[in-house]
Structure formats: structure tokens, C-alpha cells
């Protein structure tokens, strides 16, 4: 760093950056969580649907249940950013 002294603008800018990182983490990590949770459910649901097509609705329902996690992440990110 050429100049160790931080101006007010720099502090503000870095705060914006931190917020963006936080928002990114919120969506990214919850996305991973949702993915991990849906992995097992989705695989089982597809297996069940292959056996019996009537299971489609219920299978879809079970598969999307963990979706809520990433939605919460998205809500947090939106609140952080705006």
C-alpha cells in the first residue's frame, strides 16, 4: 500500500465491499446447503417416480422442501445489499 492512511471514502467503499461479500456468502453457502439436502431427496424421488409415476407430485414436493434454505439466504442478501 502506498499510503497507509485510509480516507473516509475508502472506509465507505470497503464497507460496501464487505456487504457484498456477506451477501454473496449468504446466497452461496445456503445454495450449497440446499444442494446437499436436495441431492439425496432428489435421487430417491426420481427412483420412486421411475417405479410409480403417480409419485411425481409428492416427489417434487419433497425435493423442493430444502429450497427454503436458499430463499432465506436470498432474503438476507437482499436485505444486506439494499
Amino acid at each position: 500500500m502506498a499510503d497507509a492512511v485510509m480516507t473516509m471514502e475508502m472506509i465507505q467503499a470497503s464497507q460496501v465491499g464487505m456487504k457484498a461479500i456477506g451477501a454473496g456468502l449468504a446466497v452461496g453457502l445456503t445454495g450449497v446447503g440446499t444442494g446437499v439436502a436436495e441431492m439425496g431427496i432428489g435421487a430417491a424421488a426420481v427412483g420412486a417416480i421411475a417405479e410409480n409415476k403417480d409419485f411425481f407430485g409428492l416427489g417434487l414436493l419433497f425435493t423442493v422442501i430444502p429450497e427454503t434454505i436458499v430463499i432465506f439466504g436470498l432474503v438476507i442478501a437482499l436485505l444486506l445489499l439494499f
Binding site: F56, L60, L61, V64, E67, L74, V75, L78, L79
Partner: protein
């Protein structure tokens, strides 16, 4: 509305000689859901037996198999074809006798010939594949076999080999391995094979051909070409037959199917030597009509009686009873599960709210118009009943998308000339300085939470209705109170939050008078609601108490209406910024070759990006809207598992009685 059609259990009794006209009439009316008679097979039982098919069942089945075989050859299905005209029964009979056998014979012959040619083509292709390794061997293949004192070994080796026995070897270099042709004396064969084996030799049989590999390959290729030409001719002939006779085929299929279903109907009836009894279900409002029609065809020689219905034990078939605009949504209900007879049927709620949720999530005039266009385009290609229902749901959703697009003032992420009529969703993307209004995110989130609160309350109220209708005695009271308990816990939590924090767009209870021990009216109300609610829940099922946090997660789950919508807006705005702000505008400033390339890249980003976002929006909008109903709403009251009302008869498309 909110309940399935009322059904009546009907018993039809007549003498066996009246079976044919009665079955015919039932088939025409398409009202009677037959309850199959099950032969208990008890020993010594001499009462009712399962009936026997009417005459003509076997012949009709055979004909149907033939017609379906031809349809398979043409790969046509009745549902994909629009009926040009409906034929009457005698006309069809005439055509079946005069035209059908000829067509059947012709198609059978042609299909047979085609499959023979196909086999030959396969055989030749196989031969060509066998010749490939020998393509660089310049000698006649006939010279490589048939010796008494020599053996010829052909195959691949990874690298050059040397043999200890006297031999002659021809090596041809390939890309990864070598092809070798080894000639040894017959007596040394075993030794040579062993040594080759050690060098990882993969043996290949010498093809039984006369002539060099190149010549033979050319010959077979030529043969295949001529066979393919013949196949093409046969296909053209088949296409011509398909063109001229496809209508007849689907008509015949329908006619045969109708005949089979009718002739086999007695297999579902209880019969004695002289009489048959058919039991089944008819919508209550249509009984008089059916009974009059049966009287008419039999000249009064039939007994039709309505039986009492025991909704608790009879598995009553369920037919939806919805206004026309809600009918497409029945598809979404069937995907989950059809309601049972005594249950509240939430199709109407789904029909109204699904498109609205979809519209709120996507909420963009441009995307709405594109979806409407997509819908109109698919209308021609998707002809089945379910596909049409699906398209109608999509159409309704697109219309709501356009309406909410107007309200949000959005067009492909751009702002329309007016300010948003409700809360703004315009994010400050691609603008360096915040231009006046940004997105009203807090307000949007709170409105969506309100939607959640109302939905969960409605779900629990419907749960109370269902339990009041279906359960009996002690359990009924407990179950109804448990649902009330869930509502009370939720509102208790809300009262508590409102008493502690002022939240915009929600009642502010922080200024309520304090009653005792520093607790305000609001807090006391909250505590009373929660405690009473938990007691009610626990009285029905103690374990349910651990589910109480789901109240919060289910209500907050409705914030996805805002969150998913905003993410779709954000993607659209990013695409616009990238294509226009980063590529097209700088390109327009400097119209050199580089500038033109930039403009083209910008346009590509714009097109691909918006197609991608449209697909994502449809998937998100549909999946999240339906999920908010299935998971957060239906789980409060809805069980489903009803039996589909499937009346005897069919919707005739090509034929008429």
C-alpha cells in the same frame, strides 16, 4: 365449489337379454362409473357370478391389435390427430369391411419387406466392419486361408514382435497399435500363438471373402446404398398410405376400442343365469336423465335404484366441481393428489392464486408477452387433454405476469414510461448514482409475509372444516381445536412481535397500555394465545408441539415471492447493463470494426441472456408458486388420495353412435 360433485350410488338390474342395449346406452351416456363386481369365490356359494363377454369381443380384439400394429408402423396416435369428420356406425362398418383388410395387407407386406432390407443392411455393415483391419492388405483375401501346411494369423499387437519359429510377417502401422499378418508352418502354429500371446496379440478372424478388402468394402457400400434406396421407396409408399388412410385408421381404432369395452363390460357385472346387476356411481344431478334413457332403450324392462351412500366407508369416486376458469388447475391438483369425497377441494384457491403468485414472481410485461407467444405456439403441437390444461394454466399465468409487469412497470428489466403503481422492484444496477427511487424491498418482503400469514391461517381454517366433516366423537373436537391452536400460536407470536417492535405495514402494538408486571396488553394477549394454542395442539398429539417452529419457517417461506422475483429482475437488469452499457453503447460511439463486433456481442448477450432468464423465470415462477401451495398450504388441511371418477364410455372424437 370447494367440494367435489355430489355422487349417488346406483344399482341397475335387468334380465340378461337386455344387457346389450343397456350397455350400449350406458356407454353413450358416459356417466356411469362401474364398481367392479368381485367374485368372493366362497365354497358352496351359488349366488352371483362374474358375467361373460358379449359376442364379438374376440374378433374386435384381434382387429384392434392389427390396427394398432399399423398405427405403430406409421407412428400415429389418435390423440395427435384432429378429427375432420365424425363417421356414423354403419359407415364405419362399411369401411372396416371394404377398405381395412386391403390396407392391412399392404402395410404388413411393406413393413415386412422393409424389415428384411433393414436386416440385410445391418449384415453388410457388419461385414464392412470386419474388413476394416485388412484395408491395407494388398492381397486377395482368398489367398489368406485354405492351406494344408500353413497357418495364417491376423491381429493387433502393441509393438513389433519377433518369433522363434520360421515365419513370414507383414506389419502395417496403425495409430496406436500394429496390425500383423503372420504366416507360419502348420506344425509351428501352437508355438507361434504362444509367443504372440505373450506380446499381447489380439487375434482377428480372416473374413470369408474373395478379393481385396478395398474392393469388397466398395462392393458392400454399393449394396447398402441400393438397399437404402429400396427402403426409401418403401417408406415413400408407406407415407402415401399414411397420408390417405390415417383418418380411417384412427377412426377404426376408436370404433374397435368402443366395441371391445362394451362387449367386455359384463365381466364387471354380477350375473345369475337370468339376471345381471351393475353397480356404480353417477353424479346425483344426472340420475333421472340416465334412468329415463335406460327405460327408453329397454322399453321399461330395467330396474334402476339409488342406494344410500355411506361417505365414511364407501370409496366414492371424485369428480371435480369447478367453474370453467378453474378447470385447468385441476391438473395441478391431480399432480399432487385428487381430493377425497368428503374433503374441501382447494382447486378454486389454486386457480386464483397460482397465476397471481406466478405473476408477482415474474412480473414483467416483456416476459409475459413472450410466454403468451410461446403458449400460442405450443397450442398447435400439444393436443392431449392434459397438455391443453397445462397450456391454459401457463396462459393464465402469463396474463397475470403482464398485469403485474404493468403494475411493477417492468419490461425485460427496463422501466416502462410510468412509475411503478405498487412497490418498485427496480434495483440500482448499472447506475453509478442512485437515481431517485430504488427497490422498496422491505415493503415487498412485509407484504409477502402478510400473504404467508393469511395463507397459513386459511389453511388451518380449512383444516378445521375438514376435521369437523370427516372425524367423529371425541377426536373430532380435539382435531378441530388443534387446528385452532395452530392459528392461535401463530397470531400469538405475531402479537408478541408487534408489541415489541414497530414494523411498517403491520399493526403497531408497542404503545398499548401496561396491565401488570410491566407487560402490555399486547404481550399478555400473545402469551394467552400461545399457551392456549400449545395446549390445544398437545391435546391432539403431543409430538406435534415440536413442529411449532415450522409456523415461522412456513410464513417466512412466502418471502420467496419477493426474493425470487427480485433475483429475476436483478438478472434481467444485469443482462441489460452488460449488453447495452458495456458493449452496445461503447460500440456505437466508435463505429470501427471493433465497435461493430462489440455491438454484435452485445446483441448476442442480450438475446441469450433474456432467453435464459425467461426459462429460469418460468421454472422459478411455476415451481415456487406451486410449492407454496403444496408445502406451506396443503399440508395444513389436505390429504388427497381420492379415486378418480372414470365413467364407462369415452369421449368420441372420430365416431358417433
Amino acid at each position: 365449489m370447494l367440494a367435489p360433485k355430489p355422487m349417488s350410488r346406483v344399482l341397475i338390474v335387468a334380465s340378461r337379454d337386455q344387457a346389450e342395449p343397456i350397455i350400449g346406452e350406458l356407454y353413450r351416456e358416459h356417466l356411469f362409473h362401474i364398481e367392479d363386481y368381485v367374485d368372493q369365490g366362497r365354497e358352496g356359494y351359488e349366488g352371483f357370478k362374474i358375467g361373460t363377454p358379449l359376442t364379438g369381443a374376440t374378433e374386435a380384439s384381434q382387429e384392434l391389435v392389427k390396427v394398432r400394429a399399423i398405427e405403430n408402423v406409421f407412428s400415429v396416435r389418435g390423440e395427435d390427430i384432429d378429427a375432420k369428420q365424425k363417421l356414423s356406425a354403419p359407415e364405419i362398418q362399411k369401411k372396416i369391411e371394404s377398405d381395412l383388410p386391403g390396407i392391412e395387407k399392404e402395410v404388413e407386406d411393406l413393413a415386412g419387406a422393409r424389415s428384411k432390407l433393414d436386416t440385410k443392411v445391418k449384415e453388410y455393415e457388419q461385414k464392412i466392419a470386419e474388413l476394416v483391419p485388412f484395408k491395407d492388405v494388398p492381397v486377395d483375401l482368398a489367398l489368406l486361408r485354405g492351406y494344408a501346411h500353413f497357418s495364417v494369423l491376423a491381429g493387433y499387437v502393441p509393438k513389433e514382435v519377433t518369433l522363434s519359429v520360421p515365419h513370414e510377417i507383414e506389419t502395417i502401422k496403425g495409430k496406436e497399435r500394429l496390425f500383423v499378418l503372420v504366416v507360419v508352418a502348420a506344425k509351428d502354429r501352437a508355438q507361434a500363438e504362444r509367443e504372440l500371446q505373450e506380446a499381447q496379440f489380439q487375434s482377428i478372424a480372416v473374413p470369408e471373402e474373395n478379393g481385396t478388402a478395398t474392393v469388397r468394402t466398395a462392393y458392400y457400400t454399393e449394396q447398402i446404398a441400393s438397399l437404402k434406396k429400396e427402403i426409401g421407396e418403401i417408406n415413400a409408399k408407406l407415407a402415401a398410405i399414411k397420408e390417405s388412410h390415417v383418418d380411417l385408421l384412427v377412426t377404426c381404432e376408436e370404433a374397435f376400442r368402443a366395441r371391445i369395452e362394451q362387449t367386455e363390460a359384463p365381466l364387471r357385472f354380477a350375473t345369475t343365469a337370468k339376471v345381471f346387476v351393475a353397480e356404480g356411481w353417477v353424479p346425483a344431478e344426472r340420475i333421472a336423465e340416465l334412468s329415463a334413457a335406460l327405460d327408453k332403450v329397454t322399453g321399461g324392462k330395467v330396474f334402476v335404484s339409488e342406494q344410500p351412500v355411506d361417505t365414511a366407508h364407501d370409496n366414492v369416486p371424485v369428480e371435480y366441481n369447478n367453474p370453467d376458469f378453474a378447470k385447468p388447475s385441476q391438473l395441478l391438483m391431480d399432480v399432487y393428489s385428487r381430493p377425497t369425497y368428503t374433503e374441501v377441494d382447494p382447486t378454486l384457491v389454486l386457480a386464483i392464486m397460482f397465476p397471481i403468485f406466478f405473476g408477482v414472481i415474474v412480473g414483467d410485461v416483456g416476459y409475459g408477452l413472450l410466454m403468451l407467444a410461446l403458449c400460442a405456439g405450443l397450442w398447435k403441437f400439444m393436443k392431449g387433454d392434459e397438455a391443453r390444461q397445462f397450456l391454459k394454466v401457463l396462459r393464465n399465468s402469463s396474463i397475470m405476469t403482464i398485469i403485474f409487469g404493468v403494475l411493477f412497470s417492468e419490461f425485460l428489466g427496463f422501466e416502462l414510461p410510468w412509475a411503478p403503481l405498487i412497490y418498485s422492484r427496480h434495483l440500482n444496477i448499472g447506475v453509478t448514482e442512485a437515481s431517485g427511487h430504488g427497490a422498496a424491498i422491505a415493503e415487498l418482503l412485509i407484504v409477502s409475509v402478510w400473504v404467508g400469514i393469511l395463507y397459513v391461517t386459511l389453511g388451518r381454517v380449512l383444516g378445521m372444516v375438514n376435521h369437523a366433516r370427516q372425524d367423529h366423537g371425541d377426536h373430532r373436537v380435539k382435531a378441530v381445536l388443534a387446528n385452532l391452536g395452530w392459528i392461535m400460536v401463530m397470531w400469538g407470536i405475531l402479537f408478541g412481535i408487534w408489541s415489541m417492535f414497530p414494523i411498517p405495514l403491520m399493526p403497531n402494538m408497542t404503545a398499548m397500555p401496561i396491565v401488570a408486571a410491566g407487560l402490555s396488553v399486547g404481550i399478555v394477549l400473545a402469551i394467552v394465545c400461545i399457551v392456549l394454542g400449545v395446549i390445544f395442539i398437545a391435546r391432539d398429539a403431543v409430538l406435534e408441539v415440536i413442529e411449532i417452529p415450522t409456523i415461522i419457517s412456513h410464513v417466512l417461506s412466502y418471502t420467496r415471492l419477493t426474493a425470487v422475483g427480485l433475483s429475476s429482475v436483478a438478472i434481467a437488469m444485469v443482462i441489460n447493463y452488460m449488453s447495452i452499457g458495456m458493449f452496445i453503447n461503447p460500440g456505437l460511439k466508435d463505429l470501427s470494426i471493433a465497435g461493430i463486433v462489440m455491438i454484435i456481442v452485445g446483441v448476442l448477450i442480450f438475446l441469450v441472456g433474456h432467453v435464459f432468464n425467461l426459462a429460469l423465470g418460468m421454472l422459478d415462477g411455476g415451481l415456487h408458486s406451486i410449492r407454496l401451495h403444496y408445502v406451506e398450504f396443503f399440508t395444513k388441511f389436505y390429504k388427497g388420495g381420492g379415486r378418480k371418477y372414470n365413467p364407462f364410455g369415452m369421449k368420441r372424437k372420430f365416431t358417433e353412435d
